[in-house]
Amino acid sequence: MIVIVDYGVGNLGSIANMLKKVGAKALTSSDPDVLQQADKLILPGVGAFDHGMSKLNERGLVPLLNHLALEKKVPVLGLCLGMQLLTRKSEEGQLSGLGWVDAETVRFKFEAANAHLKIPHMGWNTVEARRAHPLFTELEAESRFYFAHSFHVVCHDEEAILAGTDYGYSFASIIGKGNIMGVQFHPEKSHKFGMKLLENFAERVA
């Protein structure tokens, strides 16, 4: 069973709808007993970094999530802000992130030649895989995903970058290290492409 972590932030309805569509067993909860039983976790999120972290803190979920992700090695997929929360910190806020990946979150910063690019990076973009991963099973080359973000993840560990996306420069759009994974886009809003990726997380990630 996949548990979508409900900490009051993010597009839970859409994620649950899409998982249902691919036939995955999923539910939305913030109940520690339910989280304990999860085979996999999805950490959703939209909005500001500190808002997200303080909501996790308010619900007292961080120690339990640390236990599940770091000790029990439950597969975790962070979506959008959920991916950024996996990092140590963000330029967007003061609070510490979960720090499960050796990375931090920074704001898009363009050189003069790309100064015309709007922030947020909003719309459909492609991803370029850097290495093979079960998340990419049967995803076609021209797969496109919906992005809406002003900040992005910078990995200190190059190995953790699974795919990059070009917006002014190439940034890490999919990361993965062991059981911890994150995507900067919204698979739940990315038609069949996002549906395939979530299906892969549900069925092909061990």
Partner: protein, 252 residues
């Protein structure tokens, strides 16, 4: 490389979908759920729903219908019409509508825009402005389905809304609505060059080149259209269409 978005803009009235001309003469198109399914199959970039009479009739958003729509749709969705509280916003976000479109209430209470952005994040707050040109050629923002003049200049309103934390602007030309004669590019250009946030152009698109012009000439980040995606031929027969990925390259 990011391709500018092409967005069907669908008007809700009395639980049906309609299309207007210059904000008048709503023509019934059909059941929203059926039409939404077709757009979903066509893998559209994004959809915008506007309940055009919610504010006038002092109604809240049609949550039940929107819940049906979000369970069928796997693309970004925006909704506008009758949103007047954080509770409304909370309900919409939890249904899976990620873009909250404010029009009349943003004008009445600019502070609400700030509250909405603090609650859902700026990316979730879209300010819609319906704009008409007067006899002297001056642009003015209207609310209440184009019935109420505000005296506001669209550029000033756009800049103020950006300052309040809006994440996007939806600029709709009342004069061009439903005419399929092309966008009011001067209006789009004026607004998009005054703000940093993305601008969605709407009102007047009739062909692919119009969409490209909104981006390349108007400086918009996205091109929205109604008639072009729901009508076919001079008799305006209802037929849902959407540019293919190949056709959309014209926007690059």
């Amino acid at each position: 490389m990011i391709r500018p978005r092409v967005i069907p803009c669908l008007l809700l009235q009395n639980r049906g979908l309609v299309k207007t001309v210059k904000f008048k003469d709503p023509k019934y198109l059909g059941d929203p759920i059926n039409i939404v399914r077709i757009f979903n199959d066509k893998e559209v970039d994004e959809l915008i729903f506007l309940d055009i009479t919610a504010t006038i009739e002092k109604r809240r958003p049609p949550f039940e219908m929107l819940a049906k729509i979000t369970s069928e749709c796997f693309m970004p969705l925006g909704y506008g019409g009758g949103i007047r509280s954080l509770d409304d916003i909370k309900a919409l976000l939890s249904l899976g509508i990620e873009k909250i479109i404010l029009n009349a209430y943003a004008f009445e209470d600019a502070g609400f825009v700030r509250e909405a952005a603090a609650y859902g994040g700026s990316q979730a707050v879209v300010i819609s402005m319906d704009v008409k040109k007067n006899l002297l050629g001056r642009y003015e923002v209207f609310t209440h389905d184009g019935r109420k003049a505000t005296g506001l200049d669209p550029v000033k309103h756009a800049v103020a809304m950006e300052k309040q934390g809006a994440g996007e602007l939806f600029v709709n030309s009342i004069d061009r609505d439903g005419t399929m004669q092309g966008y009011d590019l001067e209006l789009v250009r004026r607004v998009s060059s005054a703000v940093q946030i993305p601008v969605i152009a709407c009102g007047g698109a009739g062909k692919l080149q119009d969409l490209a012009d909104a981006i390349k000439v108007g400086g918009a980040s996205a091109a929205a259209a109604g008639s072009m995606f729901v009508f076919q031929g001079p008799l305006r027969a209802v037929l849902i269409s959407y540019p293919s990925p190949e056709e959309s390259r014209i926007l690059l």
